[in-house]
Structures are given as structure tokens and as C-alpha cells.
């Protein structure tokens, strides 16, 4: 019998539990959950505000998940330290939990820049957890004027979620275009137009220099009156547990394709990590739910003595605002090919004969065929890419490949 400890109780932790149980049905699993909830779907917190889901539908796994998986969950406690020499996790109430192997799935925390006068703002929120969403819900009324600092995925999903609950929403960002981490300027403009036509106001290339109670004084000299402030500037990976043990940490905890950190018997998965991005060939933080699950699963299998690699991670996002969907994947460093119509755009990035990235807006049908070209590194000269640029279809593959894919008669 071994004892596995998982620090964190998000999607990476759920993947880790399922990974462990694939290999080891009986050893002890202890999950340390800082939040007081069973694993839930973090990306749904904006859908909750939008009333597209409800609390009882936001659970990531069934109610009996931990029982079925034979796990003990310690709620409301935080892991303060890992002692890698004596193989113990030390909690904030000084409880010591010994481990044979441990998975760090601590996620990330909001990054709040040191704005002058921020302490004078009464109603200020981050937007990362269910509690953030519930607190924001309780704070807004139909009369609220909301200022969101940060036009990234988190800030804009928050804006969409709040739109029908408040009087006005202003989003500011230092960048000259929205979603700057995943979209190029002209693509961002298409999405921005959709958001603006739904009442969201933008102040781009501008940022807050200081707050005076309920007024934000902007760099441009203008000012914004608000009732509720949402800070969505960015997030930082929670890496402290590894850093203080002198494990290798960059922006995230460095992991290999087996999710091993530089410290023995210590694995890491999810938003707190920095793993290989095969679309650029180097490590980076890929804070995405699918990657969190797959990293967690691989970590779990390996912790339990199995052998699983997760070696084809790429950045990929599917995001929609007010009915307009965008999908992005991979790297934008390559030769560009595109098909463009009003409110529809397909842009492909090709390097050395391979698809390395894409941006799709509006027309996202069967986009997974494109994603698979990147992740499986399929040479474009073996398929009909001219056809694929226009429409995502497996008709672009050779009959042999297609028959193999669909299990037909060869």
C-alpha cells in the first residue's frame, strides 16, 4: 500500500485521481482542497453569471466521485510546505501528511498590480473561482456600473456573464486590442465589435493610474466612475511549494512529459506548471482545462508506477461571445494563408510543411481536424490542404488514412 497526496482539487487533480486509479485500485489517495467544494468546472463561473448553468450542474464529476475513487478529501486546508527529504506535506494547521508520491495541482492566483489607491475601492473582485463569482453576483445590481481591468479571456467572459445583470460595463486594457494573448489585432477587432454591439464599452491602450474610491483615473487623462471593480489583469502560477525546495521553476513549475518535476516523487499538473508546447518546441505555461486534465491523468498513472506521457500539448482555445465563436490553436509563427468573409475568418500558419497554428472566427465546424494536424504533426504534402483551407473535412486525407481513421474496410 502506498499513500498518494494531491495538492489541489481542480480538474488536474481529478485527472490525477483517475490516472492513479487506472493503475492502483487500492492505495490511499489524500486530496488537499483549499476551496470548500468538490471539483467543479472553473470555466463555467461566467456561464453561471449568465444563467446558462446553475450551481448543481457545475460539478465536474458525479456526487459519488470521491467515494467511488476511494479518496479522502481534506477541505478548507492549504498545503504550506512540502518536505521532500522526509516526504511529507505540511498543512496550514501543521498537520503532516506523509507521501510516497505527491502531485502539485495548485493552479494559479490572480495577479494584481500595485495600483495606487486600490485600497480605497470598496467593491473589488477577482474572477477565478466559484467564490469570486458568487461574491460578484451578490455585489451587483441592475444599477451597477462595472469596470473590468483586463480584456483577456477572464475579463471578457466576466463581461459577457455580467451584461444582463448590470447597467454598464467598461473594459480597459493596456494592449491596443482585446484577447491579446490569443488573437492578432484584426481578428480581435471582429470579436470586439460583437462585444460592443452587445453594450460592452472598451478603453484600449489605456490603463488605470490610480483609484480614488469609486473613480479610476486613466493614463489617458480620462476617468471612469464605477460601482464594482473586477481585476482581471492576469494570473500567476502557484509555484511556491517547489520553489522553496529549490526545485526547478520558471513562470510555472517545470515538468517533463511524464509530469515529473526536478524533485523526486514530486509531480505537477495543470495551471501551476510549465510543460512542453510542441507548436513552439519549448516549455511554457498552458493554462487550459484540457491540458490540466491530461497532465493530471499522466501524473497519476506515473505516480502509481505506470507509464504515461503527455507529449503533444499545444495552446488551444474555444471561446465565444454573444453567439460569435472563435477558436485558436498552436503558434502564429509561420507562413499565413487565409480565407476571409464578413464576420468569418480562417487563418492558418504553416512552417516547414506542417500546420503549426490557426485562428478561426465564425466558421468553426469540425475544427478538430485542423487541431489534429498540429498535434499529430501530419505533413501537409500527404493531404489535400487546399481543400482543408476552405472546409474542414476528412475528405482531404488519402482513402487509406480515412479508412483507418473511420475503421472502414481497407
Amino acid at each position: 500500500m502506498k499513500q498518494y497526496v494531491i495538492i489541489g482539487n481542480g480538474v488536474a487533480a481529478a485527472g490525477c485521481i483517475e490516472g492513479i486509479r487506472n493503475v492502483d485500485k487500492s492505495s490511499t489517495i489524500i486530496v488537499i482542497s483549499e476551496e470548500k467544494y468538490p471539483v467543479y468546472c472553473r470555466p463555467l463561473i461566467s456561464y453561471y453569471l449568465e444563467k446558462k448553468t446553475e450551481l448543481n450542474r457545475m460539478n465536474y464529476r458525479s456526487e459519488d466521485f470521491y467515494d467511488k475513487m476511494n479518496c479522502e478529501v481534506i477541505y478548507g486546508r492549504k498545503a504550506k510546505h512540502i518536505d521532500s527529504s522526509s516526504q511529507k506535506v505540511i498543512l496550514d494547521d501543521r498537520t503532516e501528511i506523509p507521501y510516497d508520491s505527491v502531485c502539485i495541482a495548485t493552479g494559479s492566483s490572480p495577479f494584481v498590480p500595485p495600483f495606487e489607491g486600490l485600497e480605497t475601492v470598496k467593491n473589488k473582485f477577482s474572477f477565478l473561482t466559484l467564490d469570486d463569482s458568487l461574491a460578484l453576483e451578490a455585489a451587483v445590481t441592475k444599477e451597477s456600473r462595472v469596470l473590468i481591468v483586463g480584456a483577456g479571456l477572464i475579463g471578457l467572459k466576466c463581461a459577457e456573464g455580467l451584461r444582463d445583470r448590470v447597467a454598464s460595463i467598461t473594459v480597459c486594457d493596456l494592449s491596443d486590442h482585446i484577447l491579446s494573448s490569443i488573437l492578432e489585432t484584426d481578428c480581435a477587432a471582429i470579436i470586439q465589435e460583437r462585444l460592443e454591439s452587445n453594450g460592452i464599452r472598451f478603453m484600449l491602450g489605456d490603463t488605470v493610474t490610480r483609484f480614488e474610491n469609486n473613480v479610476a483615473i486613466m493614463k489617458s487623462g480620462s476617468s471612469v466612475d464605477f460601482d464594482v471593480l473586477v481585476l482581471a489583469v492576469g494570473v500567476r502560477a502557484n509555484t511556491e511549494l517547489v520553489k522553496e525546495q529549490n526545485g526547478e521553476v520558471n513562470r510555472g513549475i517545470l515538468i517533463n512529459d511524464r509530469m515529473e518535476t526536478s524533485l523526486s516523487d514530486i509531480y505537477a499538473a495543470g495551471d501551476c506548471t510549465e510543460g512542453n508546447d510542441i507548436s513552439i518546441g519549448t516549455k511554457r505555461v498552458l493554462a487550459l482545462l484540457p491540458n490540466a486534465y491530461m497532465q493530471g491523468h499522466a501524473a497519476g498513472v506515473n505516480m502509481a508506477g505506470g507509464n504515461e506521457v503527455f507529449d503533444n500539448a499545444i495552446p488551444m482555445n474555444s471561446i465565444g461571445f454573444f453567439g460569435l465563436h472563435a477558436m485558436t490553436a498552436g503558434s502564429y509563427n509561420g507562413e499565413v494563408f487565409e480565407e476571409k468573409e464578413e464576420n468569418r475568418l480562417k487563418r492558418f500558419f504553416i512552417r516547414d510543411g506542417y500546420l503549426v497554428g490557426f485562428i478561426l472566427i465564425g466558421d468553426t465546424e469540425r475544427a478538430g481536424i485542423y487541431t489534429s494536424l498540429i498535434r499529430e504533426k501530419i505533413p501537409l504534402d500527404t493531404i489535400n490542404f487546399e481543400l482543408l483551407k476552405k472546409v474542414a473535412t476528412s475528405a482531404a486525407f488519402s482513402p487509406e488514412t480515412r479508412r483507418k481513421k473511420f475503421g472502414g474496410v481497407v
Binding site: G15, C41, P43, L44, Y47, K52, T53, R57, M58, N59, Y60, R61, L289, P290, Y293, M294, H297, M316, N317, S318, I319, G320, H325, M327, A329, T364, E365, R366, A367, G368, I369, T371, S372, E376, L387, A392, T393, S394, A395, P399, R402, R403, K405, F406, G407, G408, V409
Partner: protein, 145 residues
């Protein structure tokens, strides 16, 4: 597990499978009421080019990437069948972004749908297979994909 397979040499590209699928999943008793003069939302679709055609539906993969990627925990697999929980899906399309077959599509309401082998609808067996005039679509055991 039995799965739906298509023999592209036999597929005529008649799209009848799409209609049979949409009807089987409509919850209605009469095909004309269910489909006539309405946009249809089938869970199988015909693809192809000028030379060949074939029907695409969910492969019920051994290791389904849609399940791992679903941000709502809405997709699961039991008894070999990959299913979507309509109550949980929010229509974010992440499954579309990852499915290498292009087997998931939005339903009329925007919630995602895919082939669930007609095991829980009025047909009780795959309607596309039952209605394929050239027997190009079959339901049989061939091992896991």
C-alpha cells in the same frame, strides 16, 4: 462494442442517414411533422468530394479526447458509449476544437450533440444503419478505434 462503420465504396451520398438520424432523435412520432420544411440537426453527416462520399459519426474512441477536454464535465463514457449530458453542456464548442473526426455539432438550442448509437431514443438501434438504402452503413463489432 458494436460501432457504426461506413463503406465509402457503397455510400451513394443520398443523405438519407441524416434525415433518419434527425427524426430518430426528434422525439416526435411522425417524420413529416418532425422534419418537413425545417432545418435538420443530424448527428451523422455526409462528407466527400466528386468521387467518393461517406457518413461521419462519433467513433466512441477508446481514449476520447472530447471527454478530457470538456470544460463542463458534460461528456462521459459508459458501456462503450460516449454520451453528452444536455443538462451540463454549455455549448462552448471545446469538443469541436479537439475531435479529430468532426463528429460533434451544435443542436438547435446550441447544446452539443453527437451520435449515441440510438440506444436511448425511439429507434433503439442506429437509425442511419437501419435506413441506409445501399447498406453502406453497418453496425458491427470491429474492435476499438
Amino acid at each position: 462494442m458494436k460501432r457504426i462503420y461506413v463503406n465509402e465504396d457503397w455510400c451513394l451520398g443520398c443523405h438519407l442517414c441524416e434525415y433518419n438520424c434527425a427524426f430518430a432523435n426528434s422525439g416526435m412520432a411522425d417524420m413529416a411533422t418532425a422534419l418537413k420544411d425545417k432545418p435538420i440537426y443530424p448527428r451523422i453527416h455526409i462528407e466527400g468530394n466528386e468521387r467518393i462520399s461517406y457518413a461521419v459519426s462519433c467513433r466512441h474512441c477508446a481514449d476520447p479526447i472530447c471527454i478530457k477536454s470538456c470544460i463542463a464535465g458534460a461528456i462521459s463514457k459508459a458501456d462503450g458509449v460516449v454520451r453528452i449530458n444536455n443538462e451540463k453542456c454549455v455549448g462552448c464548442l471545446t469538443c469541436v476544437l479537439v475531435c479529430p473526426y468532426g463528429a460533434l455539432t451544435p443542436s438547435k438550442s446550441g447544446i452539443m450533440q453527437k451520435c449515441e448509437l440510438c440506444l436511448q431514443n425511439s429507434c433503439g438501434e442506429p437509425a442511419c444503419v437501419k435506413g441506409c438504402p445501399n447498406r453502406a452503413i453497418v453496425y458491427e463489432e470491429r474492435g476499438e478505434v
